[in-house]
């Protein structure tokens, strides 16, 4: 927990090696989630149920890519560039949760809606726990990101309510929820227990993963139950202060670098042109922000 005696860090120069590792891990979790979910959302381009939904989801994807860039920019101050972080990074160095990398079930809009809802609630909780981060470059960016998140949640909730109102829609939502729920839990898994401990000790984030996960579960279940869906239970292990029991989690967690095969395929697709053109630098169509 962040306390008054926590030092605050203005930049990378104020951090020792262990602290750098923790900040970098926290940032990559955020950035990689945003990048990969945005990439998946764009698969709905020209395929969403209505033109308006298509444009709205594309708009959300664009927001998430913008957020990914905000976080990657901070990682770059640690001595990396975009080629290291995206174009030439190994698939198993990515720290995103497996929720964001799964392909959508063919044509299943309910999957997109449920997934974005589960993700956006988690993102909201995570961002709020970073508002008082002891690392200034993180703290400074949270407001900008949160400002765009309300729309994402409103969009997802509005669609959930519409789909839940008819039998077929309800059935599709329930099946997407049952399939995605275990993957959503991986959002709150540590990349590494020791690094996670440092993140909390330094007050980089002022909530522990377990606490955020419980808050997420409560919020998600009370809303989803209000529209008639059944949310899987979150059975807590006897000892409260540990992560969820492994049987609740999917085979691949993602946070620890262990991803599904779908991720490797997606990364190949993302970097296809870069590879094909034999590039060794990232192309920018806009000047970097000052």
């Amino acid at each position: 927990m962040a306390t008054a005696e926590n030092a605050t860090f203005d930049s990378v120069d104020d951090l020792d090696d262990e602290q750098r590792e923790a900040v970098k891990d926290l940032l990559l979790r955020l950035a990689d989630d945003e990048l990969v979910i945005a990439e998946r959302y764009t698969e709905w381009q020209v395929r969403a149920p209505t033109l308006e939904s298509d444009i709205s989801l594309a708009n959300i994807a664009q927001d998430e890519l913008g957020h990914a860039r905000l976080w990657y920019d901070v990682v770059e101050t640690f001595g990396y560039d975009e080629t290291d972080l995206i174009w030439e990074r190994d698939a198993d160095d990515f720290r995103h949760s497996t929720l964001v990398e799964l392909p959508f079930e063919e044509g299943d809009w309910a999957d997109a809606v449920v997934r974005s809802y589960l993700y956006d609630v988690a993102e909201d909780i995570q961002l709020r726990a970073l508002e008082d981060s002891t690392y200034a470059p993180i703290r400074d960016r949270v407001g900008k990101v949160l400002g765009e998140e309300d729309y994402h949640l409103e969009f997802a909730e509005s669609w959930l309510e519409h789909l839940a109102a008819d039998d077929e829609g309800h059935e599709k939502l329930q099946s997407a929820l049952d399939r995605l729920y275990p993957y959503a839990l991986t959002l709150f898994e540590p990349s590494d227990e020791d690094i996670e401990e440092t993140i909390v000790e330094l007050g980089l984030r002022d909530e522990e993963l377990v606490g955020m996960r419980d808050e997420w579960h409560d919020r998600v279940s009370s809303y989803l139950e209000s529209i008639g869906l059944e949310v899987p239970g979150l059975d807590l292990p006897e000892q409260y202060d540990v992560h969820v029991s492994p049987d609740l989690l999917p085979e691949h967690v993602g946070r620890d670098g262990d991803h599904t095969d779908d991720w490797e395929a997606l990364l190949d697709e993302m970097t296809h042109s870069y590879e094909e053109l034999g590039r060794d630098y990232a192309t920018h169509i806009m000047d970097d922000d000052e």
Binding site: L51, I55, S56, H162
Partner: protein
């Protein structure tokens, strides 16, 4: 269902019609309008209204005026040098009306 969208650029200004969106209800119409009409241009507020709720009367049913010379309605008589702002505006309006009638 089609919702007509009206955009207001600055507080106090008129909401001007800027297009429409397909949406099942008002809430979604607003969400869609936000993305399609409020994202690229400076926007202070958006209205949506169901298309079927909008009343219309057009030239087939009505004589709207502006087709005959109504110069007596414009403030030209009090012309002094330099022209008062109001007179200048009125002059401009008159000239425009004449142009639109094809008289100028």
């Amino acid at each position: 269902m089609i919702w007509e969208v009206f955009r207001q650029e600055k507080a106090g200004g008129y909401h001007t019609h800027c297009g429409n969106v397909h949406a099942p209800d008002r809430e979604m119409a607003l969400l869609f309008a936000e993305v399609q009409h409020g994202r690229r241009k400076p926007t202070n507020s958006l209205w949506v209204a169901p298309q079927e709720e909008i009343g219309e009367v057009d030239t087939e049913d009505a004589n709207f005026g502006g087709t005959t010379n109504k110069s007596y309605r414009f403030a030209r008589t009090y012309n002094v040098e330099p022209a008062a702002e109001e007179v200048e505006a009125s002059e401009k309006e008159l000239t425009e009306a004449e142009e639109q009638r094809g008289e100028a």
